[in-house]
């Protein structure tokens, strides 16, 4: 076995359910996500969780959803950014955020684009995750 493969096997495996709980068309099991995808999904989950949404853990989440209904000026964008960074540093120890860009088409847009660039700790893989949040129904 090549050394590279040995390291790959010894690498820590992250494995989680797919948030959509979709079905594997062949085995009919619930789909799973692993490694980078699992981390990515976790980051996305954290950002899109509102404070108070988690049972008995009201402190988990971010204010991104609430910001959707506010005008996004540079000050609130900065506030949102720090909110996201704070959430991830508190609840997602697997990533090291390099940059976070919060943008919108206009101050009154119903969309917020969040571009998150991070490294998965121990992997040295730079991941760019783009999350677009939209007001429900728009």
């Amino acid at each position: 076995m090549a050394i590279e493969e040995i390291f790959r096997d010894r690498r820590r495996q992250y494995k989680d359910f797919d948030t959509a709980l979709s079905k594997n068309p062949i085995t009919h099991d619930v789909l799973t996500v692993s490694n980078e995808n699992a981390v990515k999904q976790s980051v996305r989950n954290l950002i899109s969780t509102r404070f108070g949404e988690r049972l008995m853990q009201p402190e988990i989440g971010s204010g991104v959803f609430d910001a959707l209904f506010e005008p996004l000026d540079p000050f609130s964008a900065e506030q949102l950014r720090s909110d996201i960074l704070n959430t991830i540093s508190n609840y997602e120890p697997r990533v090291n955020v390099l940059d976070c860009i919060v943008s919108t088409e206009s101050a009154y847009s119903d969309e917020i684009n969040i571009e998150l660039i991070y490294i998965i700790v121990g992997e040295n893989i730079e991941v760019t995750s783009q999350i677009i949040l939209q007001r429900p129904g728009s």
Partner: protein, 824 residues
């Protein structure tokens, strides 16, 4: 893997337990990260488990009386203990009616009239109008000459008089439930008729003890059931008569609002009176003899949980002192708090007696009729040869003096001063906090502890603008004058240590209200501690304290026992004495001997000024033993008494006349009189002027110069020559004098629990003195703590008000005239 920590009902613990299971599986690994979907699923699982565990725990809690919280469950558990919770109680008032009847066809007034049961009068309460009813028809005779029928004392109950009927159907499981909530079960009347058409009925009585019931006894049992309603059950043919198919059960009761209808003192007649001729009268003169009171809400869950086991423990017989207390509560609903104790715990012990102290709902004392009634009702429960004595609560009033320091933020002007509105708000908050504290601690009950520290903390937390609270406490006790004349010793027991830390400063620990004694009937007197374990009496004239008697009682700093007397207090209703003050600017050259010292007295007499010389001429001194005698026949209009020096710093003296001598003398306003000392001390004229007869205190001022010497060595001093002193004003001390004496003490501790030392002791609050000051940053408003000193705030231990006669307890529900005979 075996499940771990199954007993946990904490969400986090359950969640951790699931995660620890996941760690043993290889399928998933992200359970540790809050953002993972698996973590969400674990949350749901943990919440579900938590919910089930809480439900199971809750359900199990409801099985036990200790932990049950839902009323229906508590009732159900109390039912097992044969305890029926007290229902809502209707407020009742006592009224008298006077009805003018009409002359009948026979030319005479009817023989009698009947007040129909149902509404009699109505009154306006704080929220609404309330109707008061009689439960039965009341018949009285008519005065044949005037045609007036008088209903002297009628007890009326607030509410709606309702009735309901059930037709007995033995083929089904039938329940007889009073179909209303807020029913006063003490007004419940149950009767049965053989069938619907019948007008004859049998009355059933409530029964709580089956031992005296036969198989045909017409009795019913009462118990609370769902939704605060009451259920009536009947006998089974063995214990009590069994109902028969087709019988009709009639129930009649009052549905009431409870305490809302208390304290209504104005009632309007709305009843119906029918005379023996069938004439209806709807007009009557109504007099309220006792305002509405005793209305109360249904017994609370907390009270049921407290009382039910104790009632069960008593087992319908009184053996221990606690049994007596529990049974007294059930046979006398007006008792709010009851304390019972054996006579052996008294000092000296009284064997064979049990003492019961009852605090009524209104705080009023029980009259003798009520006490006898309670003793009579307790007799069937009590052990042979044990006597019951009902005593009034050993009531100790707690007076608090509270100084509130407000913050600068409370200042509307920025200079440390606050507006009246802010001051009132803080006072109201503090008062509310005090009430809340008292209610939380249930302080008006027996055997409770008052903590000044907790009270101060409560007030401190009541408003953000309150920066600091300084509080002090005084305890008051009151005794009525004895009905019998003669000297008597008054004992005031506080059950707590006295603050004797200021032993060298007399008058800082104990102070009494004003009283009068038979030997000085016109002298308003007080007593205080002398700092050495004894009491002394004093009077005040022109704001100057003068010691009258020393060693007139004792006090014990450790036990809080103050013994005053023996002394005979004056209990007459009025005083006729008029005091006369003297113009201090008048030119007085009279002399008085400097021999006087504080507390010393010189006996002598008052004579008219122009007679002074003749008195002196007729005064002889025995050269051998030094006694001075005066022939009484040679003086006119004299009264004997004592001259004492005031404790004031400037020379003020007081003449206290002997009662027996003063009553025979007459003095006229404007006339000048002189005090002539017996023991060789001669005073000049013009010290004082007396306006009416009788003994009293007459103050005057004068210089302290003259001869020297002691009693028995001969006449000294000279007679002054000043003319009659001008009378400037009179102080009338006539009017009512107190029939009670109140004594306040400064307790040695701020945590007061008199019940530990005194049987039947109970604390009572009255409205505190509240002072609000404000701090600020402006000039002169900052309070500075001097080094090692305390803040220069108003003195907290200033002399309490002397005439604390009218207490206003905070927690009594009524200040009515008490439980009159009307209700007895």
């Amino acid at each position: 893997m075996k499940p771990t920590n199954l007993t946990s009902i904490n969400f986090d613990d359950i969640r951790e337990s699931i995660k620890s299971y996941m760690r043993t599986r290889e399928e998933f690994s992200d359970y540790d990260f809050s953002g993972s979907t698996l973590s969400y699923l674990i949350d749901v699982l943990a919440y579900n488990t938590y919910y089930s565990a809480f439900n199971a725990n809750m359900a199990l809690s409801e099985v036990f009386l200790d932990s049950a919280s839902i009323r229906d469950n508590v009732i159900s558990l109390a039912k097992v203990l044969n305890y029926t919770p007290r229902s809502t109680t209707a407020a009742k008032a006592c009224v008298s009616l006077s009805v003018q009847t009409q002359i009948g066809v026979n030319g005479q007034y009817p023989l009698s009239v009947t007040l129909q049961k149902g509404p009699v009068c109505s009154g306006v309460g704080p929220d609404s109008n309330y109707t008061f009813n009689v439960l039965e028809n009341v018949e009285v005779n008519v005065d044949a000459s005037t045609g007036i029928a008088v209903f002297p004392e009628i007890t009326v109950y607030e509410g709606d008089l309702l009735n309901y009927s059930y037709i007995v159907d033995t083929t089904v499981q039938q329940r007889f439930i009073v179909p209303n909530d807020k029913v006063d079960t003490s007004t419940l009347k149950v009767s049965t008729r053989p069938n619907v058409q019948s007008t004859l009925s049998d009355t059933y009585n409530i029964v709580k003890n089956i031992t005296s019931i036969e198989s045909d006894t017409r009795a019913y049992f009462l118990q609370e059931t769902e939704d605060r309603r009451y259920e009536i059950t009947f006998g089974d043919g063995v214990i009590g008569r069994e109902l028969v198919q087709g019988e009709v059960v009639d129930i009649e009761y009052i549905r009431t609002v409870g305490a809302l209808a208390n304290n209504i003192s104005v009632l309007k007649y709305v009843g119906t009176v029918i005379d023996i001729n069938g004439t209806t009268t709807t007009q009557a003169a109504l007099t309220v003899k006792e305002k509405s009171q005793f209305g109360a809400a249904q017994e609370t869950v907390k009270s049921i949980k407290f009382n039910a086991p104790r009632y069960y423990a008593a087992q319908n017989r009184a053996v221990t002192a606690q049994d007596y207390a529990n049974i007294t509560k059930t046979i006398y609903p007006n008792a709010r708090y009851v304390s019972a104790y054996g006579g052996e715990s008294l000092n000296p012990p009284v064997y064979g007696k049990v003492y019961i102290s009852i605090r009524t709902q209104t705080g009023a004392k029980l009259n003798n009729l009520s006490k006898k009634e309670i003793i009579r009702n307790l007799r069937p429960y009590s052990m042979a040869s044990v006597d019951v004595v009902i005593t009034d609560p050993n009531e100790i009033f707690v007076g608090t003096n509270i100084l509130i320091v407000a913050t600068t933020l409370a200042s509307s002007y920025g200079d440390g001063t606050i507006t009246q509105t802010t001051s009132d708000r803080l006072k109201n908050k503090a008062l509310a906090a005090l009430k809340e504290y008292g209610e939380e601690e249930d302080l008006n009950n027996f055997n409770k502890t008052f903590s000044l520290q907790k009270l101060a903390n409560n007030i401190l937390r009541s408003d953000d603008d309150i920066e600091d609270v300084l509080a002090s406490v005084s305890l008051y006790k009151r005794q009525e004058y004895p009905e019998l004349s003669g000297p008597r010793t008054f004992i005031f027991e506080y059950g707590t240590q006295l603050d004797c830390s200021c032993n060298t400063s007399p008058g800082t620990t104990i102070l009494s209200s004003v009283f009068y004694t038979t030997d000085r009937p016109a002298v308003p007197q007080y007593f205080e501690d002398d700092g050495n374990g004894f009491l002394r009496t004093f009077t005040t004239i022109n704001n100057k304290k003068t010691i009258l008697d020393t060693n007139i009682g004792t006090y014990d700093c450790e036990t809080g026992r103050v013994t005053f007397g023996p002394i005979e207090l004056e209990g007459s209703s009025t005083l006729e004495q008029t005091l006369t003050s003297v113009d201090p600017n008048a030119s007085l050259t009279s002399t008085i001997n400097d021999f006087f010292e504080e507390n010393s007295t010189v006996e002598g007499k008052i004579v008219r000024s122009e007679d002074v010389l003749s008195v002196l001429e007729n005064t002889t001194t025995d050269g051998e033993d030094g006694t001075t005698t005066t022939d009484p026949d040679d003086t006119k209009e004299e009264t004997t008494g004592s001259l004492i020096k005031s404790a004031g710093v400037d020379n003020t003296y007081i003449f206290i006349a002997d009662p027996e001598s003063g009553s025979s003398s007459t003095f006229n306003t404007g006339d000048g009189y002189t005090f002539v000392a017996n023991a060789g001390w001669t005073l000049g004229p013009g010290f004082f002027t007396i306006t009416t007869s009788g003994s009293g205190v007459f103050s005057f001022t004068g210089s302290a110069t003259g001869g020297t010497g002691t009693g028995g060595t001969g006449t000294g001093g000279t007679i002054g020559t000043t003319a009659v002193t001008t009378v400037t004003s009179s102080i009338n001390v006539g009017g009512s004098i107190p029939t009670t004496i109140t004594v306040s003490i400064k307790p040695g501790t701020t945590s007061i629990s008199p019940g530990s030392l005194l049987s039947g002791a109970v604390l009572s609050f009255f409205t505190p003195n509240l002072t609000v000051v404000s701090t600020g940053t402006g000039s002169g408003t900052t309070i500075i703590f001097p080094t090692g000193g305390v803040i220069g705030s108003p003195s907290l231990y200033t002399t309490p008000a002397l005439n604390v006669i009218g207490f206003t307890p905070l927690y009594t529900t009524s200040t009515g005239s008490g439980l009159g005979n009307c209700f007895a």
